[in-house]
Amino acid sequence: MEKESGLSVLIGGKAGFGIDKSGVIIARILSELGYRIYIYRDYPSIIRGGHTFSIIRASRDKVATHQDRVDFLLALDQDTFNLHKDKLKKECFFIYDPEEVKIEGVSACGTAIETGRILKEEGAPEIMRNTCIIGAFCRSAGIGFKILEDILRRELPKEIDLNLKVAHRGFEEAKELLKVEVTGLQKLPLLSGNQAVALGLIRGGLNTYIAYPMTPASPILHFLADIAGDFNLKVIHPESEVGVMLMATGFSYMGEKVAVGTSGGGFCLMAEGLSFAGMAELPVVIVLGQRPGPSTGLPTYSSQTELHFALNAGQGDFLRFVVAPGDPQEAYYWSSVALNISWKYQIPSIILTDKNLGEGIFNFDISSVETIKDESLPLWNKSAPYKRYLNTENGVSPLAFAPEKGAVIKANSYEHDESGITTEDPVITRAMQDKRLRKEEYLSKDMKGYETVKVYGDESSRTALLCWGSNKGVCVEAAQRLGLKVIQPLVFSPFPSDKFAKALTGVKRLISVEDNATGQLAKLIRNYGFKAEDKILKYDGRPFTPDGLEEELRRLMR
C-alpha cells in the first residue's frame, strides 16, 4: 500500500440499505489499526434504491479528502461494480455477491460471496448483507476477526450474535489478498464536520439551537437534539425558517446564546431577521451549509456558492462576522469563536460550511485545537439608568436581560435612540448608524489575535493555491505533491487584508480553487486589491480529489 495516498475502500449499494453505516464500521476497523481516516459519502436525494457509496480512506498521515483510485471495491449491487470498477488499483480486488452483480468485461476474478445464500442459511435479515461483505473484506485485507468482532459489538449491539455469525461466514469464504499493517498510532474519534460545528457551538456556550431541516445542515439539528439532555440545551424545530430566525432574535434578546442552521433556500428566508439582528444588535449565529444551486439545485451534493450572499444578505449597512472553517478542528474552534464574537460585539455571525465538510467524516483531534479564549460580556453596572443602545466609544452597549430589576430593556427594528425608542431624527440616525458600524474597527483589531489566514505547503513557492472551506484538505495534499504554497483565508468579514497580504508575499501566481462556477473568492479579494491569476472551478457538486486537482494544476502550469 502506497504510503502517501494510503488505503482506500469503496463500498456501494442501494440507498437505504446501510451503506453509510458499513462505511463507518470499516473506518473504525482501520482506525483501530492505527490509521487516520476520511470518509467521503455520496448519496442522491432519494430515500431508497438510488446508488449510494462511501469511500473510506486510511493513511498514516492526517487525511481530509478521498482518492480517485481505490484498493478495495465492495459491490453490493451492479451499479457499484459498473460505476466504480475502473477505480481499482488492482483489477481483481473487488468483493461482490454473484447473485446481485454480474461481472462481464473483467476476467472472472474478484471475491464472490453469496450473501443471499448465507443470509438464508443463517436466517438473517437483508440488511446483514453488509456485515457479511465486511467480514469478507477483513479477511481479504488480512485483518483479524477479533478486531472486527470488537467493532461490531460496539456498532451493532442488537442482534450482535447473528451479525457475528454472518460476518464470520463472509470472513471464512474470502482469502487474504494483502495485509494491512498495524501502525501503532493511537486512534482518534471519527467526527463529521456538522458534529464538530455542533460541539464547537456548545463549547462557545450554546443554550438554544433552532432549525428547520435542510440538507446539508439537518444533521446538526439531529445531533444536538440527541445530546440536548447532556448539555442542557433547548433544541427547537419550528414551522419555517422565518420562524426559526425570529425565534432566535427573541432568545438572543433574553440573553440566551442561540444558533440556527440551514442551507441557501432557508437562509433566504432568514435574511430579513438577519438585518433585524444587525439593527437591534441581537447576537445570533447562523450556520449556512452550502449545496449546489441556484434554488433547490442538487440537495445532497456540495458547493461554495454563498460567499457573497452571506456577506451581503439583508437590507442596510451592518456589521457581521463571517467565517468558513475547512476541517472539523477548525469547525469546532471557529464555531465557538463565532458565538463568542457575536456576543462580544452584539452582531450576527455566519458560519459557512458545505456538504463535503458537514457530512464528510474525519478524525477529530481535540488536542490539536487552539485554546479558545472565553469572552466576557459587557454587562450593565446596575447603577446608571439602563439604556439598551448606550452610545459607547467602541459602539458596544452594556447588556441587561429581562427580567432585570430596575432595567427597561427596549429592542427595536426601527432606527432608535439610546433607550431604544423609535427616532426619525437625522442627527440621531447618523450617530446610531456610526455606533453600530464603529464596532468593525475594534473587531478587526481583535481578529489580529486570531489565525484568520492560514498558509500551508512550500512557503517559498512562487505559485500558491487559494482555497476556502472544505477544499483546504485537497489543496494541501495536491500542493504537497507539486511543491506549491496554499493560502486559506478563514474569516471573510471583517476581511483580514493585512494577514492576507502577508500570506501573499513572494507569490507571483495565485490560483483560486473553488466549488463554484464564478470564482467567488477570487472575486472577493479584488475588493481588497488582490488578484488571482487563475481559477480552477468545480461545480458539479462533487469534491475535488488530489489526483484530479493535481492533473488540472499540471495542465494549467504546463
Partner: protein, 284 residues
C-alpha cells in the same frame, strides 16, 4: 406602579380619535393592577410588529421587543420559552398577525404556548395608508383595491379555535372596561390566548357607528363548551351585517409548550462543557 409610571417620553403620534388609545389605556391599567398585585414589572415583556398598532412598544415603559411586520409571535414564543416566569404580551395588527405572519399565529396556538396576543384589528393597513387586510369585508375599496376586494374576509377567531387556541375573546375600542377585563383574563390564562380588538381606524376605516349599533356582550355563554364558542364565533363573519358578540368566547385548560424545556443556561459553564465534550468524544 400606576398607569402614569408606565408612560415613556416618546411622543404619541396616533391620529386623534384612533382606537389604539383605548387599547393603550386599557393595557396600562391592567399592567398597573398586575404589578400592584405583585407581578414584578421587569417580568413583563411586550412584543409588537410594524404598523400603527406597533408604536405601543414605544409608549409603555416596560421591556419591549419592537419586531418586524408579521413577526410578533415567534419572538414572543422564544421569550416565554427562555423565561417561563415572564408575562409575554404581543401586540399585532390584523395585517401583521392575520396576513404577513399568520403561520406563526397558527403554530403558537397549536403549541398552546403561554403568550397573550392582542390584535389591533382595524381591518385595514393603517401605517401604509389604507389597503385591505384579511379581515376587510368583501368589496372594501382600499388603495390596492380601488374597485373593491373580490374575496371574503377570514374569521380570525374561528381560525384560531381550529388551530388550538385555549383562550379567545373580542372587544372594541369603544369598550375600554371590557378590554381591561379580557386583557387581564387573557394575560392570566395559562396557555395561548388571543383577544381580537375591533380597533377603529378613524382615518382609513371609521367603523365606530357600525360597531356601536351591532355589538353586544356575551351573557350566559359557556366558554368551556367548544360548540357554543364556535356558534358565537360564527354568528358574525366579519362580512355580513349581524350582531357582534363581545367578551370571552372560549377558555380551556391544557398543557403548555414552554414547560417542556430545561431552564436557563448550562450549569456546567463553558469549561465544564469542554470536559463533557471530551467524555462524549470517547464514544466516537
Amino acid at each position: 406602579m400606576t398607569p402614569a409610571d408606565l408612560n415613556t417620553y416618546a411622543r404619541n403620534t396616533w391620529c386623534p380619535g384612533c382606537g389604539n388609545f383605548a387599547i393603550l389605556n386599557a393595557i396600562k391599567t391592567v399592567l398597573g393592577e398586575l404589578t400592584q398585585e405583585g407581578l414584578p414589572t421587569e417580568n413583563i415583556v411586550i412584543v409588537s410588529g410594524i404598523g400603527c398598532h406597533a408604536k405601543i412598544a414605544d409608549y409603555i415603559n416596560v421591556n419591549s421587543f419592537y419586531s418586524l411586520h408579521g413577526r410578533v409571535v415567534s419572538p414572543a414564543e422564544a421569550i416565554k420559552i427562555s423565561r417561563p416566569e415572564a408575562k409575554v404580551i404581543g401586540f399585532a395588527g390584523d395585517g401583521d398577525a392575520y396576513g404577513e405572519g399568520i403561520e406563526h399565529l397558527i403554530f403558537a396556538a397549536k403549541r398552546n404556548i403561554d403568550i397573550t396576543m392582542i390584535i389591533h384589528n382595524n381591518r385595514v393597513y393603517g401605517l401604509t395608508t389604507g389597503q385591505y387586510t384579511p379581515t376587510s369585508p368583501q368589496g372594501f375599496r382600499g388603495r390596492s383595491t380601488p374597485g373593491g376586494t373580490k374575496e371574503l374576509p377570514l374569521n380570525p377567531l374561528e381560525l384560531m379555535l381550529s388551530s388550538g387556541a385555549t383562550y379567545l375573546a373580542r372587544g372594541t375600542s369603544h369598550g375600554i372596561e371590557l378590554l381591561k377585563k379580557i386583557f387581564k383574563e387573557a394575560i392570566m390564562h395559562k396557555g395561548f390566548s388571543l383577544v381580537d380588538v375591533l380597533q377603529v381606524c378613524v382615518t382609513y376605516y371609521n367603523m365606530y357607528e357600525y360597531y356601536d349599533k351591532r355589538v353586544y356582550e356575551l351573557k350566559e355563554h359557556n366558554s368551556g363548551d367548544f360548540n357554543q364558542a364556535l356558534g358565537k364565533i360564527r354568528e358574525w363573519d366579519y362580512n355580513s351585517d349581524a350582531p357582534i358578540a363581545l367578551g370571552k368566547f372560549y377558555d380551556k385548560e391544557s398543557p403548555t409548550f414552554e414547560d417542556n424545556f430545561s431552564k436557563g443556561a448550562s450549569a456546567a459553564g463553558r469549561v465544564g462543557a469542554e470536559v463533557k465534550i471530551k467524555e462524549l468524544l470517547n464514544g466516537f
